[in-house]
């Protein structure tokens, strides 16, 4: 390719990068400005005199609905909900994928197809019965209810991830271990788990972003004390007490996004790599 072509190529890529970054930049700079500066200055300009006031307010004192304690309690709710739900669904998915690939039985392929349907349904179609059920059991309005829902509807995805990964692990490996005297769980723990790093990454990142970012289940199933941060953020932005504080809104949005951004920055490259990588060859 000639130099002009190369230049155009880089120009296109860099401007796309600016386009991708612009909203984040605007959010960040807005969150560090005073309301006056927002009203007078330019949307994309860096703050003249950065202030962390909006961040403190978003974290500790802003009103979301009737509670004026900022995002902090809801952020904790999200953590309490996301971490167990991710761990449980990933672990169960791994065991499912293992059983479906290396311990096949009559009907196991059919079972897998039947489970897969769970990946494709719009969750709206289960919301009404689930709301009733959680109410009846008495865990609606609690973090437990949310954990339960996220595990149940995450299993289809985690099972799919692990099944597709483990199907690439040669069956003779498991047979060799059985001849060596290992049983179902020993083989999983000693043979499969040590080579599952990449797919665990994929699964944990996927589930973490899905569950942390969820809004639908949160808004339908959570009570005012168990709301996840996404729901609280939405309320915070909509709660107007006089003047609209864009800087606080933006700080709150970034706070709500921080954990997934962090996961993404630290482990994102493993995600795409793991999604497309196969298992270890025997």
């Amino acid at each position: 390719m000639n130099r002009a072509g190369r230049f155009l190529l880089y120009a296109a890529l860099v401007s796309t990068a600016f386009y991708a970054l612009a909203p984040m930049w605007v959010m960040l700079s807005t969150s560090l400005k005073t309301l006056d500066e927002i009203r007078e200055g330019s949307l994309i300009a860096a703050p003249h005199a950065p202030t962390i006031e909006p961040w403190l307010k978003a974290w500790g004192t802003a009103c979301s609905g009737v509670r004026c304690e900022g995002l902090k309690p809801f952020f904790l709710n999200s953590l309490l909900m996301t971490i167990p739900a991710v761990l449980i669904s990933t672990l169960v998915g791994a065991l499912n994928g293992y059983a479906l690939t290396h311990w096949r039985f009559r009907g196991s392929d059919f079972l897998f197809t039947a489970l897969l349907v769970g990946c494709f349904i719009p969750f709206q179609v289960v919301l009404l019965p689930m709301a009733r059920l959680l109410g009846a059991v008495g865990i609606s309005d609690s973090v437990f209810g949310l954990i339960f829902v996220h595990v149940v509807y995450g299993l289809a995805f985690t099972t799919l991830f692990f099944r597709n990964y483990y199907i690439g692990v040669p069956g003779e490996l498991v047979k060799a271990a059985r001849v060596d005297g290992a049983g179902f769980f020993t083989i999983f723990q000693r043979i499969l788990l040590p080579i599952s790093g990449p797919i665990f990454m994929v699964c944990v990142i996927w589930q973490f972003t899905q569950i942390w970012n969820d809004f639908l289940f949160g808004v339908v199933f959570a009570g005012s004390d168990s709301q996840p941060v996404t729901v609280a953020l939405n309320n915070l932005v909509r709660t107007s007490t006089g003047v609209k504080e864009y800087n606080v809104d933006m700080a709150a949005a970034i706070i709500a996004a921080l954990p997934t951004l962090l996961v993404y920055i630290v482990a994102g490259k493993y995600f795409v790599r793991g999604l497309t990588a196969g298992a270890v060859k025997g």
Partner: protein, 293 residues
């Protein structure tokens, strides 16, 4: 068959049984209950009196439902189409032995990590008619510039497209790029030896071989589009008025804030049907081409 020996016979089934039970009850069972609800007199509370297709009649008589269906069609088509094109183009550009590819890729991909609620709020601020994009362009000197899509009933749904594409095209890019890297390099070399130009190689050889990637990306994007709820909630709240309503919001409001369980259930069933209508032909086509390959 031998069920007699060793725990290894029944352990796999035991391990799978909770998931199977959960799927039977919470997926299949709940779908059936929702379908059943949509044929009853349920309003504020479930009421199992048979109502035939009355709820569906109500649904189809409701202008708001048709507005939301039309919005979904507009949003879905544009969102999937633009994300596919943008994702593919960036992937191809990135595939030209670019310096700093990893860094650029990370930048394109990060919006995927964000919640639609966050994305929605970011774009709501960016597109704010008073203080956002409109004012920047005016400050740059084009003083008559107006950009009021967010509050314009005829345009509001397109702002959802803008934010959706921003968030999802990086994901499409990543999958396309992985697909491009998977193309057998010997085929490309063979084409070069045959004298094909780079654009021809892409058009005739590489892009056609990405068919399975197109399939999975389309599937995922279609799924996001049909379920889309949070993005619209955060960006426009379905407004102005009901101008940017989508079925997911319609379903939510009728079911949980307006006390119309039956109609809500009927609209949920319609959403399921839409997904089936999109997915089944796609999967069928893919399975068929898979066999031919």
């Amino acid at each position: 068959m031998n069920i007699r020996y060793s725990s290894d016979r029944w352990l796999p089934k035991l391990v799978l049984s909770p998931t199977l039970a959960a799927s039977l009850v919470f997926v299949y069972g709940f779908i059936l209950i929702t379908v059943a609800l949509s044929f009853t007199e349920s309003r504020l509370l479930p009421n199992w009196e048979w109502a035939g297709v009355e709820r569906y009649a109500e649904l189809f008589d409701n202008d708001r439902f048709w507005v939301s269906a039309k919005n979904l069609a507009i949003f879905g088509t544009l969102f999937i189409g633009i994300s596919l094109v943008v994702g593919l183009v960036i992937a191809i550009l990135l595939d030209q032995k670019i310096r700093g590819e990893g860094f650029l890729r990370a930048i394109y991909l990060y919006p995927m990590a964000l919640s639609f609620i966050v994305t929605g709020n970011a774009w709501k601020w960016l597109l704010n008619p008073g203080l956002g994009l409109e004012r920047i362009v005016q400050q740059w000197g084009w003083t008559s510039f107006t950009f009021d899509w967010l509050v314009n009933p005829d345009r509001a749904i397109y702002t959802v497209v803008i934010a959706g594409v921003w968030q999802s095209s990086g994901f499409a890019m990543a999958l396309f790029l992985a697909g491009l890297r998977g193309v057998d390099s010997e085929i490309i070399k063979a084409a070069k030896v045959d004298g094909a130009s780079l654009p021809t190689i892409y058009r005739r050889i590489i892009i056609p071989s990405l068919r399975p990637v197109f399939f999975s990306v389309t599937l995922i994007l279609a799924h996001i589009a049909i379920k889309s709820f949070d993005l619209v909630m955060a960006l426009t709240g379905g407004g102005p008025g009901t101008a940017s309503d989508v079925p997911a919001i319609f379903m939510y409001q009728f079911s949980f804030t307006r006390g119309q369980l039956g109609v809500g259930a009927a609209s949920a069933v319609m959403m399921l049907m839409t997904i089936v209508a999109v997915m089944v032909p796609l999967m069928y086509a893919e399975a068929r081409s898979g066999r031919e390959r």
